[in-house]
């Protein structure tokens, strides 16, 4: 059985077809070749599959296609393409927020949603917002450095003196 829903995907009106209970994650990755969104667990625990649904971070492995009708969907590819994203993305890399990169798209999407709501979140606000995004490589330190307003200036230049 198949349904067709109409959604605005990364700013573009699209018709998406598939099983009503197909995971949005699979529709993105397999039907649309938008492989930036990752599957880390398939059970809603790791956050690697995070996308924005009407501007809110959700786990695309838990969203059925049926419920995407008339909604606005943004993936990491769409958000990263925005001109104002580049400075944010560069800062994220420079602070050591990226190691293997598997959790990264999910973190970027959730962080984006946080920064839309709070331009300079403190460490506690970042920890709250990212509690549903698991990272195994960084110990979260680099991610917090990149996102929290009270994480202090980057001392890379100082150390490189």
């Amino acid at each position: 059985m198949s349904v067709t829903v109409r959604a605005v995907l990364n700013g573009e009106e699209r018709a998406l077809s598939g099983h009503p209970m197909a995971r949005l994650l699979d529709v993105l990755r397999e039907s649309l070749d938008l492989t930036g969104t990752k599957e880390g667990c398939g059970e809603g625990e790791c956050g690697a599959c995070t996308v924005l649904l009407d501007g809110e971070p959700v786990l695309s492995c838990l969203v059925p296609l049926l419920q995407c009708d008339g909604r606005r969907i943004e993936t990491v590819e769409g958000l990263a393409a925005a001109p104002r994203a580049r400075a944010f993305l560069d800062r994220f890399v420079a602070a050591g927020g990226v190691q293997c990169g598997a959790c990264t798209p999910g973190i970027i999407v959730t962080a984006w949603a946080l920064l839309e709501r709070e331009a300079r979140p403190d460490v506690e606000a970042v920890r709250d917002a990212l509690a549903g995004n698991l990272c195994r490589c960084t110990g979260y330190e680099g991610i917090l450095r990149a996102l929290a307003a009270d994480a202090g200036a980057d001392e890379t230049e100082e150390a490189a003196r």
Partner: protein
């Protein structure tokens, strides 16, 4: 019958669809439903989306109570100034059901209908004397939440019935509330023990204590023996210990992948004790919370 994927725009349409086809699976936040083997998920060919129905959305004040639409997300509950002020225990529970992404999708009605013994909001509903407004082919009826769970994952929902709203009576003046979830880690976890308390503090004693817990029985339970143990007693360490011992004694938790029966009993007792000590401390500081 052929496959169907329905997205009704009214409660009447939803109820009619369910009446016509009892095999329709009602879906809302899907945070539990979608965690199944892919073959089982794709075998769900008859589904009914509840998230586009205005009657199931929203938080509103009614006579002497607040009603929360069943499709209200935990994020909305945790953010609601009304709920935070009147039902702080529920707002707190909403913030620990999972991370931000889960809170944005998981619904109160889903938590109720899913009937997991570990549901984080469920002990709060028990402690707050919630009532459920159920809608079905025979019409709408109200059921005390305490009568909803009939056994492990078995509820009082009649065929074709769904949870439409959760009604919380306005707390009496002087009511204090407490909530604590003991999870497998600090966030994004399933509870080992989850406890909710509501009580009136009157004349240096606890009046009308309601204590409920999850993950300690096949269903969320009121801790009646513990409530009895508090009746007419003054606030203080002795009462706290007594109530805690009664709570630990009246549950029969199990060993499972997350924890042990012994630990759950112990943690339940300690959490209850701490809640009562905190109320006592707040009381001693002058006035109820």
């Amino acid at each position: 019958m052929s496959a169907a994927a329905l997205s009704p725009r009214s409660l009447d349409a939803a109820v009619a669809a369910l009446a016509a086809d009892p095999n329709l699976v009602p879906i809302a936040g899907c945070t539990d439903l979608m965690v199944v083997d892919p073959l089982r998920r794709l075998a769900m060919e008859r589904v009914l989306d509840l998230t586009r129905i205005p009657e199931l959305a929203g938080i509103r004040e009614v006579e002497g109570a607040v009603e929360i639409g069943a499709a209200t997300t935990f994020r909305a509950i945790g953010d609601s100034p009304l709920l935070r002020s009147l039902f702080p225990a529920l707002a707190e529970a909403a913030r620990v059901v999972g991370g931000w992404q889960i809170q944005n999708r998981a619904t109160l009605g889903g938590n109720v209908a899913n009937a997991s013994p570990a549901g984080d909001s469920l002990p709060v509903l028990l402690a707050l004397d919630a009532a459920l407004v159920l809608a079905g082919p025979a019409g709408t009826r109200t059921l005390a939440y305490g009568e909803f769970h009939r056994g492990y994952r078995k509820t009082a929902l009649a065929p074709g019935e769904i949870v439409a709203r959760v009604r919380l009576p306005r707390p009496a003046p002087g009511t204090v509330q407490a909530f604590r979830k003991v999870g497998t880690r600090e966030a994004q976890s399933i509870s080992k023990v989850v406890v909710a308390l509501a009580a009136r503090v009157e004349g240096g004693g606890i009046a009308d204590l309601r204590l409920a817990a999850g993950s300690v029985a096949p269903v969320p339970v009121r801790l009646r023996a513990a409530e009895e143990a508090a009746a007419g007693r003054p606030l203080g360490t002795e009462t706290a210990e007594r109530v805690a011992a009664a709570a630990a004694g009246e549950v029969a938790p199990i060993d499972d992948v997350r924890s042990t029966a012994d630990y759950r009993r112990f943690a339940l007792g300690r959490v209850v004790r701490r809640m009562l000590l905190d109320i006592g401390a707040a009381g001693a500081a002058g006035g109820a919370a």
